[in-house]
């Protein structure tokens, strides 16, 4: 498969930087996917989850709290205020209790992000 570069950057760090096949992002006006040789594209995101595909498998998922996506010359940059790797959350929730906790945490994060969006 043809690959392109995705980078997810938050103010605190570069969260993700890798060659990938496909990324599905939560756009303000609906979800969209980006493949190689996408035309130059600029849009804003709502709160949601970004799915990153490599070789027909999801390799990472990130919870993003809004942000901006720029695609140009086979390079996709996602600028977001917070990006949380959901793998690191879901891999720990073996027991129901902890998964509930994680869900609550995720919910809270989402609420916080929504609030941020609302006030910004």
């Amino acid at each position: 498969m043809k690959q392109f570069k995705l980078e997810i950057i938050s103010p605190n760090e570069v969260v993700f930087e890798k060659e990938i096949d496909l990324v599905i992002l939560p756009g303000r006006e609906g979800d969209f996917g980006i493949l190689k040789d996408h035309m130059p594209f600029l849009t804003s995101l709502r709160v949601g989850i970004a799915y990153i595909y490599l070789e027909k498998k999801i390799i990472e998922t990130f919870l993003v709290t809004g942000g901006i996506v720029e695609v140009s010359q086979n390079r996709c940059s996602l600028l977001t205020e917070e990006a949380i790797n959901t793998n690191s959350v879901s891999s720990t929730n073996k027991t129901e209790e902890s998964s509930n906790k994680d869900e609550i945490n995720l919910k809270r994060l989402k609420e916080r992000a929504l609030e941020k969006l609302y006030y910004s």
Partner: protein, 291 residues
Amino acid sequence: MPSLKDLRNRISSVKSTKKITSAMKMVAAAKLKRAQDNAEKTRPYARKMSEIVNSLVENNKSKEFKFSEKKKKTTRNILLIVCSADRGLCGGFNGSIIKFSKKLSEKIINDGGKVSYIFVGKKAYQSLQRFCGESILDFFSDIANPSIKFELASSIRDKILELFLNNSMDECHLVYTEFKSAISQTVQSLKLLPLNALETNNNNSSNKSYDFEPSEEEILNEIIPKNIAIQIHTALLENLASEQGSRMTAMDNATRNANDMIDNLTLFYNRSRQALITKELIEIISGAEAV
């Protein structure tokens, strides 16, 4: 010629100064590490953001939008945001910021503009207070305690956007110190508003035509305030790192100078003690010879 007791006192006072400066150097070095990490982590985000904004604005050269230059006015009201430190004892750090902003505002006044100020950090505020008079709009201090928060940058952003949109300000510059390394920092000014296309970088980005969703204008209106806030935030972080770096080198120099001074004073002390002993011996010998 000072007496031996005076010399001893002098040496001990220099020694205690040296203790203070070397302790301050250690503290600054520890803080520098953290501040530098923070500053470097935020850089990619800020750089990318301003890249996007620049290419957007460049594509929009002809059109007039919400944050672009207003052409009608004759006198320009210019806002300077001056970032300095809260504390002294950091070499030429505050001095060069003050000098730079003074020069900049004098230039603006000579060109027939009006200057107003927002200060972040006590030092520049204190020494430019008299120079600026009534035109100080706001003053923030104690920002880095315990760490610089993004909220501060957003509140400054809200303020300048409000001023800009109700036409009481036409241009906004940010004066801060760019952190290059622990020993080299340069004072800089960054134009936050209005946005015009940079004439210089006509690279390949100029022929990009983006597809926008929902629309170009909405994206611009969302991204520009974000960009301003993050630029202010990075400037504050860089400024903090520069302050600590500058303090570290200044205190290092002070410690070294104190060492030199102690060496010289000890040498002088020993010499005069020896001279005193010799003098006494001569007196005794010549006294014995006389008998």
